[in-house]
């Protein structure tokens, strides 16, 4: 209810209302852009671009069409990320920057140095496997696996068909399985 009110006020040009929407959605939008672009600076640019585009398009936002505000923002964010990737390609810049992720601290906060090193190695391996996916596969896998959107929702966000999304998801998971299989076996990983 409060969000609907903020949307209405932002439509009328109230900067405070837009700020409230920004505060409520900024982390999720940044995470989505970062997972796709794998680069902090580009993800921050996309964050800004998403909210600027959303502000200018608010008059066209219609929740009755079945997209809630969060999904609608995601859609803008995905398009902005695709544009950013395309711009980087044209400039001949590398598409990914692995260093940002590899330098992150261990989220498990384990006090065992051996365990910490192992966790780091696992995350680096996963990161490298994710890097091997095409940007589209990575986006689809991220939306389905980490952000838990349904295939139908992803198809809507990416203006694609469910069949095409399933194919990309299948290829993404198969690539990850190939890259992580040996590692799962070595670690005797249990479900």
């Amino acid at each position: 209810m409060e969000e609907e009110k903020s949307i209405q006020l932002a439509r009328e040009g109230d900067p405070g209302a837009l700020r409230a929407l920004y505060d409520g959605h900024r982390q999720r939008v940044l995470s989505l852009a970062y997972r796709y672009l794998r680069n902090r600076a580009d993800a921050e640019d996309v964050l800004q671009e998403t909210f600027i585009k959303a502000y200018h398009s608010l008059s066209r936002y219609n929740p009755d069409k079945g997209l809630n505000f969060s999904c609608w923002l995601n859609k803008i964010c995905i398009n902005a990320s695709i544009d950013a990737l395309r711009r980087n390609r044209v400039k001949g810049m590398p598409v990914t920057a692995v260093g940002d992720v590899a330098d992150m601290p261990d989220p498990s906060n384990s006090s065992d140095p051996e365990r910490t090193a192992r966790n780091r190695e696992i995350r680096e391996r996963i990161d490298s496997a994710l890097n091997d996916l095409s940007p589209k596969q990575r986006m689809i896998f991220t939306l389905r696996h980490y952000q838990e959107y349904s295939i139908r929702e992803i198809a809507e966000h990416m203006e694609s068909t469910e069949g095409s999304i399933k194919k990309h998801l299948f290829r993404a998971v198969e690539t990850l399985k190939k890259r992580l299989k040996r590692f799962v076996m070595e670690d005797g990983y249990e479900v």
Binding site: P15, L18, R19, Y22, L30, S31, A33, Y34, R35, R40, A43, E44, L47, Q48, E49, I52, K53, Y55, H56, S57, N79, D83, R86, R89, V90, G92, P94, V95, D100, V101, M104, P107, N119, I122, R123, I126, D127, D132, S134, Q137, R144, H145, S150, I151, E159, K166, L169, F170, V173, T175, L176, K177, K178, R179, L180, F183, V184, Y189, E190, V191
Partner: protein, 243 residues
């Protein structure tokens, strides 16, 4: 149910995307098929590993700085550059480019490549002065390498011994398009960037071997993997993409 179908459904099942009938059919198959049962166990383990080691969230941003950027952007008039964003026009554009590439391919095949006239496909992806500068063709070259990378990575990580005669599925039309694109770029870069042309030459061999999959004299996926390794194709691809 065939194992290939089951393999796809296993992933959808784990994501809760299957209807009751498909789910029942899959579980019935898995109970009777050891290979698919192992496939399910492996997929579950990999999912579990991914869930326990989620990749890093976006690092904390300077929210106030980003907000100031947004405020600055609000005063700018909205951009109407939505050509690529509109699905209908995007496909019309893609179709036109594909048609141009095909026509260029047919003409090259029939008459050979005239050195003074760059092919339409290359010209469309480069700046007007690209014929005189190797840098002008770079974006097209980098985009081509990006298109190739997922297929090459699939082969580079192929693990033999799981199933005899196992193949990696690649769409034939995509392969044909890549071979043609590869040929055009190779000719364009031959004189100005021999290292890039050499890489495209190696890639051409690999693509033709992949196209040949299923023929009697075909190389196995493991042999193609060795070929990629021997010629350091993925390494060269990463290096040349960044130059």
């Amino acid at each position: 149910m065939k194992c290939d179908t089951a393999k796809g459904l296993i992933i959808l099942d784990l994501y809760g995307e299957l209807g009751d009938a498909e789910k029942a059919g899959l579980h019935d198959h898995i109970q009777r098929c050891r290979a698919c049962s192992e496939e399910l166990a492996l997929t579950k383990k990999v999912f579990s590993l991914l869930d326990d080691n989620r990749p890093a969230e976006a690092p904390a941003a300077d929210w106030e700085k980003a907000w100031r950027g947004i405020q600055g952007g609000l005063s700018r008039p909205p951009s109407n550059r939505r050509f690529f964003g509109l699905p209908g026009r995007r496909w019309v554009f893609a179709g036109s480019v594909l048609t141009l590439v095909l026509i260029a391919g047919i003409l090259i095949g029939k008459y050979g490549l005239a050195p003074s006239s760059p092919p339409a496909a290359i010209a469309a992806r480069t700046t007007p002065d690209s014929s005189s500068s190797p840098n002008g063709i770079r974006p097209a070259f980098a985009a081509h390498l990006d298109d190739l990378k997922p297929i090459l990575v699939d082969y580079a990580h192929f693990e033999p011994g799981e199933k005899a005669g196992q193949r990696i599925a690649v769409d034939e039309n995509v392969l044909r398009g890549l071979i043609l694109q590869n040929l055009l770029l190779k000719r364009k870069l031959a004189e100005k960037d021999p290292a890039a042309a050499d890489l495209l030459d190696d890639i051409d061999v690999v693509l033709r071997e992949i196209t040949n999959q299923g023929a009697q004299d075909a190389q196995s996926p493991a042999q193609i993997r060795d070929l990629i390794e021997r010629r350091d194709i993925l390494f060269k691809l990463e290096i040349l993409k960044k130059i």
